[in-house]
């Protein structure tokens, strides 16, 4: 039945999409064409993507890379903790110069090098939180929102109760047990973020679940899993991708917030949050110590936000055809 319908209407649909009868192209070709189309349609989003790529490049190459036979020397001119105690009083708080493009900090360490090392930590936290939160929110929400009457009622109460316990207490407890490592932070932020984005996703799934095409496919005898994966998931996919790009920036902000509250990662690590926190004391002598890490945080969030919004416009099935430009 379904196949018959498709056979009858497919030619029309393909022509409408600009299908000219050429030989089907290979996957890389199509991916490249899609990328070019995205860049042309969404220049701002492409710019955001460029910023994200730049950040990932910094994180990979900044501190140097050694993977088996592959070995790339570090891009950072200095080690993040490199300073000379004997000359520290002369070399500290230097304004940006050719030797130190972003100046030096209170011990005479190179801010630019520290930023590059910090990029790796931030990207690790961000991507870790992103992966965990996407898995948590997608599986939990799809199941919960589909079985609204049984699983959902219990699960939602449980999540509401968990919302009672402030994130700081949970993070503090995990740090006390596991140590204040980037991995522990990514884990906690991922789970907490996943539960939070799940709330919005849940509303969307409940809405779609009541639409006629779900009823229709149920009437045709489709199993629950088929409905969830073939009919509901593709329609909320854009949402999952957009909130995933958001979760990266949220994790990076959370790291900075925790550092300034004194709840952050090991102060010896050159994370952006730790650098911002240290800079607060020396605002008058060395404003560059606050400005450059701040700009990095802002640039990262800016990039992910632009990319996420452009992806939403391209992927959201409801915006297709509308000429909305946010």
């Amino acid at each position: 039945m379904e196949r018959e319908w498709a056979a009858r209407y497919q030619p029309v649909a393909l022509e409408a999409e600009g299908w000219t009868g050429e030989r089907p192209r290979s996957l890389p070709e199509r991916a490249l064409a899609g990328l070019v189309r995205f860049c042309l349609r969404k220049p701002l989003g492409a710019f955001g993507g460029l910023l994200v790529l730049l950040l990932i490049g910094m994180a990979l190459l900044g501190p140097g890379l050694r993977m088996g036979p592959l070995s790339i020397p570090r891009l950072a001119p200095y080690h993040y903790n490199e300073y000379d105690i004997a000359r520290a009083h002369r070399e500290r708080f230097q304004a940006p110069s050719l030797e130190h493009p972003m100046g030096t900090d209170q011990r005479g360490r190179d801010v630019f090098s520290r930023l590059l090392y910090g990029a790796r930590i931030s990207v690790a936290i961000g991507l870790g939180a992103f992966a965990i939160s996407t898995v948590v929110s997608t599986t939990l929400t799809l199941i919960s929102a589909y079985y609204v009457r049984s699983v959902d009622l219990l699960l939602q109460r449980l999540i509401e109760m968990f919302n009672f316990v402030p994130d700081l207490l949970i993070i503090g407890a995990v740090f006390a047990v596991k140590g204040a490592t980037p991995l522990a932070l990514a884990l906690v932020l991922g789970v907490l973020g996943g539960l939070n984005t799940g709330r919005v996703l849940r509303a969307e799934v409940i809405r779609i679940r009541g639409l006629p095409y779900v009823d229709a496919s149920k009437a045709m005898g489709a199993s629950d899993w088929r409905i969830i994966f073939r009919h509901i998931l593709p329609n909320v996919m854009f949402w999952i991708i957009v909130s995933a790009t958001n979760s990266v920036s949220l994790a990076i902000v959370a790291e900075a917030n925790l550092a300034v509250l004194g709840f952050g990662l090991d102060p010896a690590l050159p994370t952006w949050g730790n650098m911002l926190d240290e800079a607060r004391e020396y605002v008058r002598q060395a404003p560059h110590m606050a400005i450059f890490p701040g700009l990095m945080v802002a640039m990262t969030i800016f990039g992910f936000r632009l990319l996420g919004d452009a992806l939403r416009d391209v992927l959201d099935p409801r915006l297709h055809g509308a000429r909305l430009r946010p």
């Binding site: 009457r149 509401e160 109760m161 316990v165 605002v283 936000r305 632009l306 909305l324 946010p326």
Partner: protein, 321 residues
């Protein structure tokens, strides 16, 4: 409708009980030490006995569930207990601290509104012209700046260019108005700016959507002036969702104040709760957190009920809690 309301209130009570129990037990069992350990230095003679005596005096001995029940009873009867460290009653502290947080949130909200609504409208009216591009870029840039960043960068800028920093000790408005204004100016601006970028974009998108509606075309076709079309027909329809979004951001404003209050040394609720957490002062921490949770949950409930009452399409039948 009544069924729905009763169900929601019952569920709220269940959530409150379960959540406060979870919070209480988490606070008492997760940290490896308790507040008394922090008060008695380990080198004092008879440290253990002193601690035991203090615990007995403060009601920290005995089984945990009984302590929870007595805390619960106190919470519902209005006897909220004292801080374990300063021994000051929590209710007294709340009376001093709530106005600070409330002022911060309210003025911050006002700044958000005053900043983002006009700019969003302007951006929509000049769609795809230079003004629009500038405003959109600005909105994105603001969106990319978390409160902490705006705060630190503002402090840096003012310190470097004007050599000015806000006074470090807090004074209430009725003690020294001018000093109070100096203290509160930066934090309120930071709170206000933080969510402004998002709302500029929201207003713009929504106004554009409204301007594309049929009734706007009708109003123009009737020969109404552009101003009347905008004020009477378009803006009214934008204002409602805008207010809903603002209302939804109230809990965020309350919680984001932890960062801003700590950054600017304000004696508000966020700082109180945070300090209670790091000093393991469990009565203060649990009570203030549950207090906030009650405020947020009740406001959510009221919003949902108002929606269900105003919009018949919102299903409040069984199965959609």
């Amino acid at each position: 409708m009544t069924d729905y309301a009763v169900r929601r209130v019952l569920l709220l009570l269940v959530t409150l009980l379960g959540g406060s129990a979870l919070l209480f037990f988490a606070m008492r069992t997760l940290p490896p030490r308790d507040a008394i350990d922090l008060q008695v230095p380990p080198q004092t003679p008879n440290a253990e006995e002193t601690k035991q005596a203090l615990r007995r005096q403060l009601g920290l001995d005995g089984p945990l569930y009984r302590q929870y029940l007595s805390w619960l009873k106190g919470f519902f009867t209005g006897d909220w207990g004292k801080s374990l460290h300063s021994r000051r009653p929590i209710v007294q502290e709340l009376k001093n601290r709530l106005p600070v947080s409330f002022e911060l949130g309210l003025i911050g909200l006002f700044f958000t509104w005053a900043f983002s609504f006009p700019l969003g409208v302007l951006s929509a009216l000049r769609q795809d012209r230079p003004v629009d591009y500038v405003l959109r870029t600005l909105a994105y840039a603001l969106d990319a700046m978390p409160a902490i960043l705006i705060g630190i960068l503002l402090l840096t800028y003012l310190a470097v260019n004007f050599g000015w920093a806000p006074p470090t000790t807090f004074t209430y408005f009725w003690d020294d108005p001018w000093r109070h204004v100096q203290i509160m100016a930066l934090p309120t601006v930071v709170v206000g700016i933080t969510s402004a970028g998002n709302l500029v974009r929201f207003t713009r998108t929504f106004l554009l959507e409204v301007l594309r509606q049929d009734y706007i075309r009708t109003a123009r076709a009737k020969g109404l002036s552009e101003q009347v079309v905008l004020v009477r027909h378009a803006l009214r329809n934008v204002a409602l969702p805008f207010i809903t979004v603002l209302g939804a951001s109230v809990p965020t404003l309350l919680t984001s104040s932890v960062i801003v209050e700590n950054l600017f040394n304000l004696p508000g609720m966020g700082r109180y709760t945070f300090q209670a957490l790091i000093s393991l002062d469990y009565p203060v921490f649990v009570t203030t957190t549950v207090f906030y949770a009650v405020v947020i949950l009740v406001s959510q409930l009221v919003t949902d009920l108002a929606y269900a009452w105003a919009d018949p399409r919102v299903s409040y039948a069984r199965g959609t809690p």
